[in-house]
């Protein structure tokens, strides 16, 4: 079974069909996707700006991360669920699009880097060059995810 066949099966599934055939379901899910993106942006920025020394100062990046964590995780869960639903409505079209491929690669990297590199570094209390560099990488990765995500609609 090729990727194309999998995409076709998803597209023909009740969920995929329902979203594709409804007028308002796709926009409604897309709006939630976008709102989660805004929350994610805020949560990532709080910690990253703190690390760069241009955000909160009285709280350490370690403390900021504790406050921002529930918003980062819940927005990511929201983004993944709504993203899967959006993708299920037109997967055959998506798998041929460069922007979608770039987004999926960047998304995988962003998730791995955030949870296995960036968060552990911040939680250790590291605020040195390594931590600043990882904050830069995290922001760049999520920037690419958001940009290529928007670009799917244009390509």
């Amino acid at each position: 079974m090729s990727l194309y066949h999998i995409a076709q099966a998803i597209e023909g599934s009740p969920v995929g069909q329902a979203i594709r055939e409804s007028t308002w379901l796709f926009p409604a899910i897309e709006v939630v996707h976008l709102l989660c993106l805004a929350v994610l942006g805020g949560a990532v920025l709080m910690t990253a700006l703190g690390l760069f020394g241009v955000g909160l100062k009285t709280a350490s990046p370690q403390e900021i991360e504790v406050s921002a964590r529930p918003y980062m995780t819940s927005s990511l869960v929201g983004i993944l669920i709504t993203g899967l639903l959006l993708g299920a409505s037109e997967p055959v079209k998506l798998i041929d699009r460069e922007a979608f491929l770039i987004k999926m690669i960047a998304l995988a990297l962003a998730l791995l880097f955030t949870y296995f590199v960036f968060n552990p570094i911040v939680r250790k209390g590291d605020t040195g060059v390594q931590a600043k560099a990882s904050a830069g990488v995290v922001m760049a990765l999520w920037f690419i995810v958001a940009l290529s995500g928007r670009w799917i609609g244009f390509s």
Binding site: P27, L34, L45, V54, K57, T58, A59, A68, F143, A146
Partner: protein, 184 residues
């Protein structure tokens, strides 16, 4: 305003931006990405005002340190937003979603001004203690308004309420469809 948007739609730069392969997409992408900066930072400050997060950070520090980023996001949103309107003036101006979004933008800005001038004027008293009711009210209005600014902003792109889609008298009234030039 109708005369203005009709004229705007005929200007060469408006047509160029609308029909360009990349400039329109780049502008809209910048608009969406700036939401992360603008609404993202606003939401985090609102959560502090509500007393649910960043409770160890003084309110005064939260607002002072986040404001430049919020303003930066706002400037990008305004510039790209005006450009997006300029690219598709007539359709955008008549869109019900655009009209609701504009009303909400005004409400959001009035709330921000009220928050800065009236709510925060005695914030040193509650900098680290429990936040007063007025701060929570301002934060709730802010969260509500900016959420729906995003919702209605996104809906502008969909064509189900366009004047040329055979709308109900109610929608036609709100969108002032009579004023749409016949050749568009």
């Amino acid at each position: 305003m109708d005369g203005f948007v009709n004229w705007l739609a005929g200007t060469p730069w408006s047509i160029a931006l609308h029909e360009s392969l990349y400039m329109y997409s780049i502008t809209e992408s910048a608009h969406v990405l700036a939401i992360m900066l603008f609404v993202g930072t606003i939401m985090m400050v609102d959560l502090r005002f509500l007393g649910v997060s960043y409770r160890n950070t003084p309110v005064s520090e939260m607002t002072a340190k986040m404001l430049p980023w919020t303003v930066a996001g706002f400037i990008i949103l305004c510039i790209t937003g005006v450009a997006l309107f300029y690219a598709i003036p007539i359709r955008t101006w008549h869109s019900i979603w655009f009209r609701i979004k504009c009303v909400l933008l005004v409400v959001g800005m009035i709330n921000a001004a009220w928050s800065a001038l009236k709510v925060e004027h005695d914030k040193e008293k509650w900098d680290l203690g429990p936040t007063p009711r007025k701060a929570k009210v301002a934060a709730c209005i802010s969260l509500f308004v900016w959420t729906f600014v995003i919702v209605f902003g996104r809906l502008i792109a969909y064509n189900w309420t366009d004047c040329d889609q055979n709308q109900s008298p109610f929608i036609q009234q709100i969108e002032d469809c009579k004023a749409v030039p016949a050749d568009t």
